[in-house]
């Protein structure tokens, strides 16, 4: 396969869709297309990206309305067939609301929107999204969110740990997230949700390239 085909879903209010498209297309030289939220089926893609932003103005709960967009049934079917799905920030929140990942998001503990570079530690490198990193690697990568305070009950947290589903942990907890969780993967290993923005740390000019290897790992995995 020469190029990987990425599909970036665009919801009303998505605002990191162009950044993701740019990194995948211009930096990584892969095949990318936008998928409008009103489409009902996912076709001809190897990996779906649910980008960051404020889909539907974060009305009701973050991701709650986007989860019922026509495209989401297609995304769920795609994921259930083993297709690779990565949700970044608001995309992660949508995956939680859709039930593709366990848990939920609460307001940040300090009740502020937090926008800054943070350090996160890699806990699981045996995934389609992290295979090019070194074991236990620490990445410098920005976060920008109001609801990143990840919640899961004790039983759920135990299950996440038992199955190695916690992929990223904050080195210093910025938002109150349970067990410092910054990113998790589903049990099957094909759906990743993460609050930090790899597309904002994929070029030297932006102060860090640590995020680029998420997308590179996906390309490597599928090839």
């Amino acid at each position: 396969m020469e190029f990987l085909r990425f599909g970036v879903v665009v919801f009303p209010g998505s605002n990191c869709d162009h950044d993701c498209f740019y990194v995948l297309n211009n930096v990584l030289k892969q095949d990318v297309k936008y998928i409008w939220h009103k489409e009902i089926e996912v076709r001809d893609v190897d990996c779906i990206v649910l980008p960051g932003g404020f889909s539907y103005g974060d009305y009701l709960r973050t991701g709650a309305i986007a989860r019922f967009s026509p495209i989401m049934q297609g995304v769920i079917d795609f994921a259930n067939k083993g297709g690779l799905v990565i949700g970044i920030c608001n995309g992660f929140q949508i995956l939680l609301e859709a039930g593709l990942l366990p848990g939920a998001m609460l307001r940040n503990k300090n009740v502020h929107f937090i926008c800054k570079h943070v350090h996160i530690k890699l806990l699981n490198k045996n995934t389609p999204f992290t295979n090019l990193y070194k074991k236990d690697e620490v990445l410098k990568i920005p976060i920008a969110h109001n609801e990143g305070n990840y919640y899961i009950d004790e039983k759920g947290l135990k299950t996440l740990k038992e199955n190695n589903q916690i992929v990223f942990q904050y080195c210093a907890n910025p938002n109150g997230a349970a067990d410092n969780i910054a990113g998790i993967i589903n049990k099957e290993g094909n759906v990743l949700g993460m609050m930090p923005h790899p597309e904002r740390s994929s070029e030297k000019e932006l102060g860090s390239q640590d995020g680029l290897f998420i997308f590179k790992s996906i390309v490597e995995w599928v090839k």
């Binding site: 709960r61 939920a104 609460l106 307001r107 940040n108 009740v111 919640y151 009950d153 109150g176």
Partner: protein, 84 residues
């Protein structure tokens, strides 16, 4: 016509950052001694073009489970009243 008032609140076992911040602000307004706890929730009004109460209850309950609340972190309750 029926009108439903749906209340959505974070579960008691879930920390409510908004409630805590509001509580601290109220305390700074000199309600220091009286306030024990503040929880911030949502109120959603829904007008229904139907008169069958039982059916309406069932329908609102479904809406709460599917969309209006997130059962992982929230509880809901609702009341139904006749309106013109």
């Amino acid at each position: 016509m029926l009108k439903a008032k749906v209340y959505v609140n974070l579960k008691n076992t879930v920390v409510d950052p908004q409630g805590l911040a509001t509580k601290n602000a109220l305390k700074s307004l000199n309600y220091e001694r009286e306030i024990e706890e503040v929880r911030v929730g949502k109120l959603i009004d829904i007008r229904l073009d139907m008169s069958d109460r039982k059916k309406a209850e069932q329908m609102i309950d479904e809406m709460c489970k599917k969309l209006l609340s997130n059962p992982t972190i929230e509880d809901y309750s609702f009341t139904l009243e006749e309106v013109e």
